[in-house]
């Protein structure tokens, strides 16, 4: 890029001298900025592929424009409704059903009197968070496998079922499995922030309520829960911003071809049409559709959260 013609030589020189005087500082920052421009902004620029048909011989920049054709194809595709429904419903169910659980867990954890027990319980509950979905998937398949799965054997031993249930191959079970495993992995970890909020409550409030004769249950309802309400609301708002992220890693690990129609989410659709079928333009368009909506949601939700002084940035 060419430098702008110098309009105000004096001002410009001043800026130059100031920049030169902190050249070491600028040198610490500029490589990072260049890095971000290459690795984050060039792909954004590359999104123009959503309006093009990639021709391998010409490359992205010279490929012919096709306008909104890929978007139209996506909206008219029979998979569109399925993919959107799965993505939003899985995400919605996760938000609605899984948000209260870490809160309840934190409230109960806070009532454990013995410090040592508390450490042990917390330590165990955080552990799955540090494992990848691949490992968790491996563990889950051991437990939920059809013929050799432990849960099937336990259920059969106890006489609940006669035949092994094919948990991973039955559509109706897939979403419950997603919800349960997500909660299994993240509940303890998710409780940390609430525990931190609870730890910040002034102990004098509890003392005062004790004098007024409030039991522990009343204390939870009337003191602890209202005190962490702001935290709860903010986390919920921020989570809603990511509603189009239904859990790519998790679903990619746990899905299989039999239950395709309940496990197709936007990210999976991009992966399949783009990298597996080679329809780069089409997949970029779907990705762009998600990025733009996702950006607007995150931005908007963060704006709201900032009103409470707790945005992400």
């Amino acid at each position: 890029m060419q430098t702008e013609p110098v309009v105000h030589p004096r001002n410009n020189r001043k800026l130059w001298t100031r920049l030169l005087s902190q050249k070491e500082l600028q040198l610490m920052v500029l490589p990072g900025i260049v890095f971000l421009i290459i690795f984050k902004f060039v792909p954004i620029y590359g999104m123009q592929l959503a309006f093009k048909e990639l021709s391998v011989s010409k490359g992205i920049w010279q490929s012919p424009w096709v306008g909104f054709q890929h978007f139209i194809d996506f909206f008219e595709s029979p998979l569109f409704a399925n993919v959107m429904y799965n993505t939003i419903m899985i995400s919605f169910l996760k938000i609605v059903l899984l948000t209260p659980l870490p809160i309840i867990f934190a409230l109960l954890m806070n009532e454990i009197r013995s410090g040592r027990l508390k450490t042990v319980f917390q330590g165990i509950s955080y552990l799955p968070h540090f494992l990848s979905w691949v490992i968790v998937g491996g563990l889950i398949l051991t437990v939920l496998g059809k013929d050799d799965g432990t849960l099937n054997q336990i259920l059969m031993m106890m006489g609940f079922i006669q035949e092994p249930v094919f948990f991973m191959g039955t559509g109706e079970y897939f979403w419950p499995i997603l919800l349960i495993t997500e909660n299994w992995k993240e509940m303890g970890w998710g409780a940390i922030i609430y525990l931190a909020a609870i730890a910040g409550i002034d102990p004098e409030i509890y003392e005062a309520s004790k004098i007024d004769g409030a039991g522990r249950f009343k204390q939870i309802i009337h003191i602890t829960l209202p005190s962490i309400m702001t935290t709860i609301i903010i986390l919920l708002i921020l989570r809603v911003g990511y509603v189009l992220d239904a859990g790519f890693d998790q679903i990619l690990v746990l899905r299989n071809p039999i239950i395709q129609d309940v496990s197709n989410i936007i990210d999976i659709h991009v992966l399949e049409t783009g990298l597996q079928e080679g329809r780069y333009g089409y997949a970029t368009a779907i990705g762009m559709f998600k990025s733009v909506i996702g950006f607007a949601m995150v931005w908007g939700c963060n704006k709201i959260a900032r009103k409470f002084n707790m945005g992400i940035w």
Binding site: G32, V42, I44, S125, F130, S132, G138, N256
Partner: protein, 292 residues
């Protein structure tokens, strides 16, 4: 003060719930652990819940004699250590520069950072960029794209901004530049945040499999998690395909015990590290959790 009956029964119920939750959390590990140490044929009969009925190390022998797995393990170790150093080093310097209020263009730089954090160019454009940069099927694809992490930058920047100004002033007066101030003064007092970021990056790198799944086609560069993913994905596919039977033939042991052993050798190191450094994990990560 004597506790009432209601209070005491609440405690009992509460601790019971916690014990049950802990068992639910740990049971899949115990079960997989038991299966991994079981004799292949015996495990096929099922009924292994807490402890191997017929103890055998053969699954681990097979796993550890498979050069692919050893290679994958080495790749994971390499990407974790190199990724850790690069990210902490590069993001640290970047964060330190941005923590200086007198930095010219600071607001613009921060805007670039925040925007890059919330607007994702998408998988396909990223893939095509990596292809043009020659990162596809290249070990560097594991460590380069994460070198500058805006999220960690914000955590570090916040920490640096809270350090007392006098700390650096004396160094600047002594004629130290920003770089040497950063190494000699800032880094040593910033160990808490550096340790936190190390944990973040280390766990991330150890657990990464998607990048290798998408951006790498070479078996020799495959990290252990991706290898495991492929085993799991294959075992999920109902009909036996050529790759699967080839894999089974090579492994020569029961599929289930092998899978369990592969899960274990991937899960155990990170679990042990977690247990050893639990105090630091939770203390340090509290910072991240509260902010995030």
């Amino acid at each position: 003060m004597k506790r009432s009956f209601g209070e005491r029964s609440f405690d009992v119920v509460n601790i019971t719930i916690m014990v049950l939750l802990s068992i639910t959390t740990l049971y899949p590990f115990i079960n997989t652990f038991a299966i991994s140490f079981s004799d292949g044929l015996d495990a096929q009969r099922g009924g292994i819940f807490l402890w191997p009925r017929k103890f055998s190390l053969s699954s681990y022998e097979v796993v550890f004699s498979d050069p692919t797995i050893i290679q994958a393990y080495l790749i994971t170790l390499a990407r974790t250590s190199l990724g850790l150093i690069l990210t902490v080093f590069c993001t640290g310097i970047f964060a330190y520069g941005l923590s200086k209020k007198n930095l010219i263009g600071r607001n613009g730089y921060l805007l670039i950072c925040v925007f890059s954090m919330i607007f994702y160019g998408g998988l396909i454009p990223t893939y095509l960029l990596y292809k043009e940069l020659g990162l596809i099927s290249n070990f560097l694809v594991y460590v380069i794209p994460g070198m500058i992490n805006v999220w960690y930058m914000i955590l570090m920047k916040t920490f640096f901004e809270q350090l007392p100004k006098e700390l650096e002033e004396s160094a600047i007066i002594d004629g130290c530049g920003y770089f040497s101030t950063f190494y000699r003064i800032i880094m040593p007092v910033s160990m808490p945040i550096v340790a936190t970021i190390c944990i973040f990056v280390g766990v991330d790198q150890w657990n990464s499999w998607f990048d290798a799944y998408i951006f790498n086609n070479k078996q020799s560069l495959q990290p252990i998690q991706t290898y495991l993913f492929k085993i799991i994905a294959l075992s999920q596919t109902p009909e036996t395909n050529a790759v699967q039977s080839q894999l089974m033939n090579r492994l020569k042991v029961n599929h289930m015990t092998i899978k369990a052993a592969a899960v274990m050798i991937t899960a155990i190191p990170i679990s042990l590290i977690y247990l050893m450094f639990q105090k630091y994990f939770t203390k340090g990560l509290m910072v991240g959790a509260v902010k995030g």
